[in-house]
């Protein structure tokens, strides 16, 4: 309902973030920007992202966006991280525009993750 500041998906991801937590092994990025703190951890396997986990400190949209990202990119090709777009989150989760900056922080984290995990698997 339009009177709710949070879409149903945001509420759902926020309440049950299946990918919250850590991974043993793999790589991780930490980012602390715009009052948002995120850690994304990934385990790659033969060009694909095998597992994703996150930790986050921020508003409900940030937490939900992290979960959304993890749920969507587990199993995806590692290269797809390079073309990940914050605008997908904005649209799919109906994030209000004034929060664009925060969602871009997640985009930054994802891109860094892509570089690390790509570099890691090449090594």
């Amino acid at each position: 309902m339009s009177n709710d500041a949070y879409s149903a998906r945001v509420r759902d991801y926020f309440a049950r973030p299946a990918h919250a937590g850590d991974l043993s092994g793999g790589v991780a990025v930490d980012i602390d920007e715009q009052g948002v703190r995120i850690r994304l951890a990934a385990l790659g396997d033969r060009g694909r992202i095998q597992s994703l986990r996150f930790r986050a400190w921020g508003c409900p949209h940030v937490i939900a966006a992290c979960e959304y990202f993890c749920a969507r990119y587990e199993g995806a090709p590692i290269e797809s991280l390079d073309v990940f777009q914050a605008s997908d989150i904005m649209n799919d989760l109906s994030v209000p525009v004034e929060k664009t900056g925060r969602i871009l922080v997640i985009q930054d984290a994802v891109r860094s993750l892509g570089r690390i995990i790509g570099g890691g698997s090449a090594a």
């Binding site: 509420r11 930790r55 986050a56 400190w57 921020g58 508003c59 409900p60 004034e98």
Partner: protein, 387 residues
């Protein structure tokens, strides 16, 4: 009460007292004429308004003729502050207020600054209190008006209106008091209290929304310029057709409040103690304001390491506020809590629990439990938890 949520936001607004709801409903058939109309139907409306004025006047211990009806405390604050400042502007243009006033006061002072008035903005101490001596020290020869709220809407902190008012009387400064959070909740005797202008709104004490009042003391030099213009209603101070039904509702709400103010205060005190007991050992929790003094209907707490918006969502189905309702939509940390010296982060994590007549001990215990769980889960989600 709808039972899929627990309402702990009585400082934002209260439900109608059931008797007030009945009174409003009863008005619908016979009390509808324009009270300015000089005929039998108009007289019925006028009688309702006079009855309401008498009930409110009794609560405040004033003459009914000193009350001007408005649409709420926002309008009362605008009329009281801007109206009195302009009325006395030929005598001087210095005004005094507090940084922690409600927006309906601070925004008016900012507007008056643009109009050429000079405003001294006082900062309260870390507990939210204004020291009367500090207040006295900023008064000048040309000071005409001060506006100091009674009960702070975010923290429940109460100012020493008696001391501040006495200083004002000595120095011939008018005192406006925003009592939106005080009327019907704490005893106010305006025969004893040296207050010149006082704003209130019915929906904060179980009366209807859309109706409020401004008390204007019957003293020389205490007058306001109107801010709305139109028909000759209310001695030309405030035009517009008066909503006789809402005024009757406000009056009854005032009468009910008067009869149970002590019981209510005791009830709220118990609830606040129970709530605080339930959350006080959460790590990093801090009271904004003062748990000992202050209005017992409000408990405002901050907690370290927690993002406020997520905390609020996690607290659902408990309806609470961050800062005041008017600012709930904005992401900015409360200016009131910043003025008390809280960091942005701590201010942003603030939760205002406000209790009311229908609140039960079970409600606050549930709220306390939920608060602990929420803080724990959000901390667990944060990157620090990994370390």
């Amino acid at each position: 009460m709808v039972d899929d949520f627990i309402y702990l936001d009585y400082a934002a607004s209260t439900p109608l007292d059931p008797l007030v709801a009945e009174r409003l409903h009863d008005c619908r058939e016979s009390v509808f004429a324009n009270p300015s109309s000089n005929h039998a139907a108009g007289r019925i409306s006028r009688a309702m308004i006079e009855g309401g004025a008498q009930q409110l006047a009794a609560l405040l211990n004033v003459d009914p003729g000193t009350l001007i009806w408005t649409s709420g405390a926002t309008e009362s604050d605008n009329l009281g502050v801007a109206g009195a400042a302009r009325f006395r502007s030929h005598r001087g243009k210095h005004l005094v207020t507090l940084l922690t006033e409600h927006k309906a006061v601070t925004d008016v002072f900012q507007m008056l600054e643009k109009e050429g008035f000079e405003v001294t903005w006082l900062k309260p101490d870390a507990g939210g209190c204004l020291d009367p001596a500090a207040f006295a020290s900023v008064l000048r020869e040309d000071t005409q008006l001060a506006s100091i709220m009674y009960v702070n809407n975010e923290t429940g902190v109460m100012q020493d209106i008696e001391a501040i008012g006495s200083i004002c009387r000595e120095r011939d400064v008018l005192l406006h008091v925003d009592a939106a959070q005080a009327v019907g909740k704490i005893p106010i005797d305006l025969q004893a209290l040296p207050v010149d202008l006082l704003s209130l709104t019915a929906h904060k004490f179980y009366g209807p929304k859309g109706i409020g009042a401004l008390y204007i003391a019957n003293r020389p030099g205490c007058r306001v310029d109107p801010i709305l213009f139109g028909g000759g209603q209310q001695r030309r101070i405030r035009p517009g057709t008066l909503p006789a039904d809402l005024i009757a509702g406000l009056g009854l709400a005032a009468e009910i409040a008067q009869s149970r103010i002590e019981t209510d205060l005791e009830h709220l005190g118990k609830l606040r103690r129970a709530l605080w007991a339930a959350i006080r050992d959460v790590e990093g929790v801090l009271v904004n304001g003062d748990i000992e003094s202050g209005f017992p209907g409000i408990l405002n707490v901050s907690v370290s390491g927690i993002e406020g918006e997520s905390l609020l969502l996690e607290l659902e189905p408990i309806c609470v506020a961050t800062g005041s309702a008017c600012n709930s939509k904005s992401q900015e940390p409360s200016y009131v809590l910043r003025a008390l010296g809280r960091s942005d982060r701590l201010a942003q994590s603030a939760v205002r629990f406000s209790m009311g007549r229908p609140t039960t001990e079970a409600d606050v215990e549930f709220a306390g439990r939920r608060y602990r769980q929420a803080v724990a889960r959000l901390r667990d989600l944060a990157p620090e938890a990994a370390a």
